[in-house]
Symmetry: C2
Subunit: 321 residues, 2 copies
């Protein structure tokens, strides 16, 4: 559930007066996104999202995120488009925080994705990768392979509270990743957090991608690997090759994978599982007493990691190598 900053009337009025978006008719805090405060605005000109960036989103990254959305929208990708205020800026300040207004996207995220949704996702992901190729700004992945050891050290001492032997297993995996992580794959702007709640559908048609606040420069195939983890496992933890095949066929129809990317896919998927295992482990061990939000179980991602460790090759994902 969203952090919820209360915005004083006068400050909101002043802030909105710096935009040309008509008369404010309603604004409501929405219970989505865990990083920032989001408000749905109705004005005489339409519907918009107002976001107040809370401290977990680094202020110096905002020009990258907003610039990227602006760039992608201009290329025809369905994603929120930041509005410019009268001085021409996409970023302002409200209630002591950086703040932006973006266009509202219709659509609903799918709680239980089917293969048809995975195919739509594959197409959109390839489009995103191609549309981002001439975006000028850069941002390193702050949760990439080089960051995992530091992240693990903050949870290491208590990891075995979650599962016996977990610390040793993660330790061995990190050594493997540090030694074998592929360095020269085709790369560019990736979304890096394209879970089902960030992908909107109207009926069976994908209507937009949201939440670009983990976007960064990294290997395209790593973004695919994140999606394999996020979209292609069932609630009981079983891998669904039909969903993976649907996603990969749609992706490669738009942007073919080269030999290196195909070969690397099991290791990238195993690494993507590690990245979410580590952040979930941290959140699990550091959840506030009595918090309303139940942290997600890190062990789901340990199970995925082991699956990818054991696959024979990219054909396990429905690819024809």
């Amino acid at each position: 559930m969203a952090v919820y900053t209360e915005v004083p009337d006068e400050e909101l009025e002043e802030f909105l007066a710096t935009y040309e978006i008509g008369e404010l008719l309603s604004y409501k805090g929405i219970a989505e996104g865990v990083e920032n405060s989001n408000f749905l605005l109705h004005t005489s000109q339409g519907t918009f999202i107002l976001t107040l960036y809370e401290k977990r989103t680094a202020a110096h990254d905002l020009p990258f995120f907003l610039g990227l959305m602006n760039h992608l929208a201009a290329k025809g990708l369905a994603c929120p488009t930041p509005l410019r205020n009268k001085p021409g800026e996409m970023l302002g300040r409200l209630a002591g925080r950086p703040a932006a207004i973006v266009s509202f996207l219709d659509g609903i995220w799918v709680r239980r994705p089917q293969p048809k949704h995975c195919a739509e996702l594959g197409t959109a992901l390839a489009n995103l990768h191609m549309a981002g190729q001439d975006f000028a700004l850069k941002r390193a992945n702050g949760l990439g392979v080089a960051d995992w050891r530091g992240l693990f050290e903050s949870s290491c001492a208590r990891a075995d509270e979650v599962a016996r032997g977990l610390a040793d297993e993660i330790q061995a995996e990190l050594v493997h990743f540090e030694k074998n992580w592929p360095r020269d794959l085709p790369h560019g702007v990736i979304h890096a957090d394209l879970f089902p709640d960030n992908v909107f559908f109207i009926g069976d048609r994908l209507s937009g991608l949201i939440d670009f606040y983990f976007a960064c420069n990294d290997a395209f195939a790593y973004d695919i690997a994140i999606c394999l983890n996020a979209w292609c496992f069932e609630a009981d933890g079983a891998f669904n090759i039909t969903k993976a095949r649907a996603m990969l066929q749609a992706y490669t129809a738009r942007r073919p994978l080269d030999r290196q990317e195909m070969t690397a896919l099991p290791l990238l998927a195993r690494g993507a599982a590690m990245r979410f295992l580590l952040t979930r482990l941290y959140d699990w061990l550091n959840r506030p007493e009595g918090a309303l939000v139940q942290p997600k179980n890190p062990l789901e991602y340990l199970k995925r990691l082991r699956f990818h460790r054991d696959v024979a090759g990219p054909q396990a994902y429905g690819l024809d190598p």
Copy 2:
């Protein structure tokens, strides 16, 4: 912040299929209302609010609440109108809970009401009281004078943790109320919770009243007394007679108060302060460890209660007796 029930896709689809409201384009949980889960729906036909009633709203009261909104809207009062589903019902079930869809009202609640807002409120309150007079269903006030002693007993032992002497002071007040509470004032349907967050404005014009889930049959002047407490005190606890006069003049221009109502007003306002003191005291003493929602300070209402106890008569509120 709202309770937030996650609704499975298929269940939502099935539920919406029982209504004629077009294609679903988006739904978002909104961070308003502490009693129920609220979702903003966009469909091809417009914007609506979907409410899932959580356990604090008694299911057997829902026909009263929904019937009342339907009745008031038909009389021209700006309030949410429950939609009827294809079988003609205003109430259904979703995610194991009673659920209803109501029309969406534009408008913004005013964080710092001014006298002009209080005047608009007075007119709307009188209109509400008159429009409810021929509503057929009845509901007793579950938080009326007869209920205060029981409510106090659940907090009594720990009341002095909040302020020394609080238990004794409440005890003495309850004796006074039980002996002197007026029984024969003009009565009908009252809102009973018309705080600023339940009153929407567009610019300076009142655009609607919401949240009828405390509505009941009680003295009209008691509803006025609740509003005096909720709208006419400053953040520092000082009473603002200009706001009270604006509200009462506007109210009485639509529905004059009789002699008994005027005379009773200080006692009713003192009682209304007790009602919110008691519920806030309970919430304060029973707040969950680490909860995100900070309960409201009960002592604000002790201060209001003392103010009303000390006034000389209804002229203290700007009324000419």
